[in-house]
Subunit: 163 residues, 6 copies
């Protein structure tokens, strides 16, 4: 049976670290759904539409990758896609504990769904969406942290990068 | 002299992990006060009254356990109860550092009060009040995470669990 | 193309935690090779033959799983099996850092090979081969830590469990 | 060439732990600029003016130490001072990961700037500005956590310490 | 019922950190047994007799404390003393994980025995028996790390401290 | 006064990570002594002479760097060089705790000596002497992990790299 994996996240904005996980995960499974979380309780930096557009532009050349919005419980979304695999990236010890808890909670909610982890490539281990947001908001040069398409969409949406 | 221990927390809501610590701590000391913190600065999920009611229902059969609200400095509350022992649960490395800092600050404020730690039972190591809140708010089944009485009170107070 | 994954370890002895990873990994990939490391520099507890026999007995009913010995560099073994995927279990923060280093070193040696991680099921998070060895050597009851077949082979090989 | 180092932070309020780093760092380099961050997005406990006044009072007797406000990207401030060295204190593992990420992000933004770390003296390892704020707001005695000058300014500004 | 707690360790040699835990634990329970492990597989620095002598000298004035040797499984020793409580000190994150595993393994072997943890006082958080051994063997002044009685016994047994 | 810093280690063998710290530390202080530890108790991989030769070859073009052997207590060596600064690299959380303990023990032994830390560059965060030794002994290609001079000396001394 072909395996479809789901890579969920807020991707606010997507970073080079996220895209690295996307590419590597797409080689492990037959198809990959990048699931962009809508969190109504939290003010986002980019809109879900912008984040989806950015991820689609960055993955255009790989037909095995789809980008979709999701809300509600992750396990419900994964089941609705007939997937049994969630992919997550791990950068650091602090990620580890948070991810371990989420994975264990999800296993209780849906024992048939497995969460697999990939270590972030070392050159991106410091990188997070919040670092990008902070550097961008302070007018710093964040072009080394995100793909070109993401940079363009951040500048269009936030008017950042005027420096 | 009989030892009274205080187990403080926000218990918002109480989880099976909290109740496990309550029960185990009650065997170590002559009596145990579960102290439910009122934090006026933070919007709570359940009211203090609901949290106290839930904890009382879950500990009805153990006369050595009392449940009370507290506000202000923990060490002042502990002293007011003629106790010299604070009990806390430890789940993970991130707990460890936070708890270590709080315990050390409390020792400076009240050197005669000792903080003792119990490791959370492994099957609850992923479990936190915030996991319960998140699953409940997204309409997921959180009945494996809390005692029956807590589930009922969450549903009554929040109207959750309609799924 | 069908994916073959390699799950390497010393499995000295195999524990219930190892077998849990074996089973879960076998659902993620088309076939799984459990690779039992021969480390000539270190005195082992069970012989490689015993460890292989134990793992084979425990995985008899799953034809997608093979058990083999390996020595030398892991990436050379993985390549020799035409595999591009290594599977490892993660229990704790201390595992995390060691595993991160090994995965990064292996990526330098063989960039085409991906290492994926599964979190150990919470009820086995404390469990390691060294815990089993220590309890067994002190005459304790380790039957809750290993499959029945492993217990039998430890007793046959070490004369343990006489208590 | 004489080395000027920059020790940035929010110092809200300055603690004995911060002052310990200030003093030790001032011995390592020819001059030290304590850079008090203005974070317009976050409500501060003390005003930048109060924090600067407090730090200046505590470092009056050391002419090699200057206290200044800064806003914007840290690396821009460091360059504007013709400095190439940032100093930070490390208390705990959780600091470690945050600090590692910030240092790596800054290295991408300004490769010529080096970040050096000093471990907080063990008797201050639990101490943070947030511990001081919390104890002060609850009416506890925080005089063991901050220099006398800081205590006075907190009481003047917040009306705390009335107990 | 009076509570007897067991504080096990190798105490090779006992440090000021160990003695701090001994004293604080003795206030929490009615009596405390300091259990000095004999590990036949490992070459010790001080003999079990020397370690017991040192601990006894340091706890002479507290009749609630006994010092004894133990070998075999800890849980068997605890049961033989009619105790249900094990005490351990925690210094750091690395301690945390090791201690969590041992506590969980012991709970599987003896569910009625509880392990409680005390955080090491911050001024001893760096201190371990191995630091003492290393400084002593290199001829350094280790008198700030151990009680006077321990220093004397180390010098008598090892001929250290000649510098 | 010109600052001389000491960078101690076993450097067995020196890696690209060590050389990165050497170069960055040499920019922070007026001169840098790389201190190669002789540990008589532990069998080393390369002889002290080989390690010193390797480090000297790699630092030939920087007259501010000296390479020397040391034995005994580090603080005694640092004092004998009229230095007050020790430099260490930090890669990961596990480094952090070990280094924190050593730094605190050294502060007790020599309060006037300060230990400063630099984070290892992210692309070397996985790299350690033991990784190099293991890959070299298994016949793997370790040329991406060490400077050319180190590679040559390892091959000369160990006959490694024949593959």
């Amino acid at each position: 049976m072909p395996q479809t994996a789901v890579y969920p996240g807020s991707f606010d904005p997507p970073t080079l670290g996220h895209l690295d996980i996307v590419e590597r995960a797409s080689h492990l499974f037959d198809s990959l759904i990048v699931a962009v979380g809508e969190n109504s309780a939290k003010q986002s930096y980019l809109s879900v539409q912008d984040r989806i557009e950015a991820l689609r532009e960055c993955t255009l050349d790989n037909p095995a990758i789809q980008v979709e919005a999701f809300s509600g419980l992750l396990v419900d979304f994964v089941r609705s896609k007939s997937s049994r695999v969630v992919v997550r990236g791990l950068r650091a010890v602090s990620d580890f504990e948070y991810e371990a808890r989420v994975a264990m909670a999800n296993r209780r909610l849906a024992p048939e769904i497995e969460t697999v982890f990939l270590f972030t490539r070392d050159e991106f281990s410091f990188l997070s969406s919040s670092v990008v947001r902070e550097v961008a908001e302070l007018g710093g040069d964040f072009s080394g942290f995100v793909p070109e398409a993401v940079k363009r969409i951040i500048e269009r949406s936030r008017g950042a990068g005027r420096a």
